[in-house]
Symmetry: C2
Subunit: 413 residues, 2 copies
């Protein structure tokens, strides 16, 4: 196995070269990667088969095996997504500001790559390619550490991508994958100060929490979403039911799915029965507090039910006396991802969007739109739930920093 510090030094060295590649050069590398993934599909599927066999043998549950599985169709889709990234504008080199001070010094604020982006992720092998190409396009070395379940798939995908770069005359060390998936390497990676400019965890709440609490390098916290829908008094009940159904049922495992519905007491008698009937189509299990249970039949909600991101066909429900109570409930349980109000009252909408502290605050639209593609960023490396650096969907621009270039003719202070 390659020593992590050796890899880190190679990452740092490669980041200087990559930072100087122009857009055309980077796109040439990406096209080579897309072609290589298509041409060497058999190798990819064979490696993936090994991972799947091992997972089946160790009794892994079906949902996880599905995430792990690559098919010819999925690999083709991955190659196409690489070509989509080629089409995205290159953020590097953009002049953000350009001004001259009274003393004659000219200050330009120029967008530059972050440098080395570390990514710790779990079972899905497509993240290997996805992370690599978004980092590459934004001029960042991708320094990856995948999960052990996808080890063979990841190593093969990374080998193919590195070969493709080398074949295109580019630096293969722009893409690096740790070949040791032990817990120790994750810990070491979190402490690579001076080598890793930012670390992004992509995976479940346990992984994210571990990285955020242990890292000594800057981290961008992503992905945990305990998202709420508040149905205001006087809300359009059909609209509210549709938004709830879409938020809860279209893809319950994702971070922008709804987990809790709060409804104003004046709307509860109409809304709850209608919502229950609609969500019964997908056999959603409801867990409510007393006032909600008085209106429709559901399980009793515990404190944990309001705090948890179910990621499943389960919904917590509560009747509130006022928008104040709704805002207070959300303030207590939010993970600052996406929160929604359905209302026909402009003042209520303004209060909600002003006071709710989340990356995306919705009025009369589904929280499922919190997504790089839906926001028009073209692609995303994750959804930030913190307030520093970037918030919400992170595309190529959010993978950059800037530097000030100051030119003069001898000015001193």
């Amino acid at each position: 196995m390659t020593d992590i510090y050796t890899l880190a030094a190679r990452a740092k060295a490669a980041s200087v070269k990559l930072g100087l590649y122009d857009t055309e050069t980077k796109n040439r590398g990406l096209e080579a990667i897309a072609c290589a993934l298509e041409q060497r599909m058999d190798e990819i599927l064979a490696a993936n088969e090994k991972d799947i066999s091992a997972a089946v043998e160790s009794g892994t549950r079906a949902a996880l095996i599905d995430r792990l599985t690559l098919t010819a169709q999925r690999v083709a889709a991955i190659a196409n997504s690489v070509r989509d990234v080629i089409k995205l504008p290159d953020p590097v080199g953009e002049i953000l500001e350009d001004f001259t001070r009274p003393n004659g010094i000219r200050i330009r604020k120029v967008r530059v790559p972050l440098g080395v982006v570390g990514i710790i992720y779990e079972a899905r092998p497509n993240v290997t390619v996805d992370s690599a190409v978004l980092c590459f396009k934004s001029g960042n070395v991708a320094f990856l550490r995948g999960g052990k379940e996808a080890f063979n798939s990841n190593m093969t995908l990374m080998g193919i991508m590195r070969d493709a770069l080398e074949g295109a005359g580019l630096e293969p060390d722009c893409l690096l994958l740790l070949d040791d998936t032990s817990r120790k390497t994750a810990q070491e990676m979190m402490c690579l100060r001076g080598y890793i400019d930012v670390l992004i965890p992509r995976g479940g709440p346990g992984l994210i929490r571990s990285v955020v609490e242990n890292a000594k390098v800057p981290v961008i916290e992503t992905g945990t979403g305990n998202c709420h829908l508040y149905v205001d008094a006087g809300a359009d009940i059909d609209m509210a039911v549709n938004i709830l159904f879409n938020g809860k049922c279209s893809r319950p495992s994702v971070c922008n799915a709804l987990e809790t519905v709060l409804v104003h007491r004046d709307a509860a008698e109409k809304f709850l029965p209608a919502a229950k009937a609609k969500l019964d189509e997908m056999k959603v299990q409801w867990r409510g507090e007393e006032k909600a249970r008085a209106i429709v039949d559901m399980f009793e909600a515990t404190e944990d039910d309001f705090a948890d991101e179910f990621g499943d066909y389960i919904l917590a429900a509560r009747v509130v006396d006022s928008i104040d109570e709704a805002i207070a409930h959300i303030a207590k349980y939010t993970t600052h991802h996406s929160e929604c109000i359905v209302t026909s009252d402009a003042a209520a909408a303004e209060r909600f969007t002003g006071e709710i502290d989340a990356a995306a605050v919705y009025v009369n639209a589904s929280t499922r739109f919190t997504d790089g593609g839906e926001f028009g960023l073209g692609a995303e490396i994750g959804i930030s739930t913190q307030k520093t650096h970037a918030r919400g969907p992170m595309g190529l621009k959010e993978l950059t920093s800037y530097k000030y270039i100051v030119t003069g003719n001898g000015q001193i202070r």
Copy 2:
């Protein structure tokens, strides 16, 4: 002493109110603070006198006592700096983007405060006011933890500012100072996840290192500056000497001061004797490697001399064979703050600004310009040396985040 978790909860609650204050309201609070500092100057000076007596008794060195000392003139200057902040534009509420997607949802990206900004700082009591007002103007609760040397001064200044806010009908908990300066509170503060949105250390390298390594909340690393000047072959020798003298001698203790000079071998014979003669005026001690010492008489430089931020009238010097060697030296020792090339060669300037990884890269101008005031930001809370969130001088905008406000009429995905 007030429990830190009680204070943190008060900070969080106040941040909701403060986030909704309009510009006029915030400026009214700042004016009240400026007036109160002037009117209650006697209390401030009396409290500061206690701190100074204690410092003198415990044998504190003169430089530190000077930093700790407030005079009528200094307090007046602090009050004036509060009024300067009133004049700065309010960044909160700025619409950064406003677009409508094909499905009709309207997405607005709106600048919002970070929330609660934690600041851990050392002996200078003016930082108490300075941090408080910059946070307040940018809509952030300032949650401060000062050094024990300035305890009486800080408590008095904070009490006066809080009284002023209360007198103006505003929430005093927008400004909070820990009344326990033990090491334990600093540690606890670094772990206040869910309460502190960002933590900024303001002080020496030891403090900064401790915060960066131990914090579980997002941190912005500031201030350490091991800044280099590279004098290229064919550089204007007079310009290079002036920039070196200004960078080393105008204020050696600050982070944008120069610590090392690198000179191309073709310029060394002319540059080093001229620079030595000029810096002798301020009795600068030179520490050089062999080739530099062969040209002018100086101490022998150790590895540490190239790595250290002297913060004093000491300079490390090295003769290099090429710009490549200069860039490699800087890459090895830089703290990513400010780096400078003096050159008359446009290609060399371009290489240097392209390859050097620092917040500010200078061509033919003094590194001493890396400063919020000099960059035209009006004021600064620190100089970020990391690449996430903000880089270089941090003004009011750099103390903000953004949120997406998404409005629709029932759109689902």
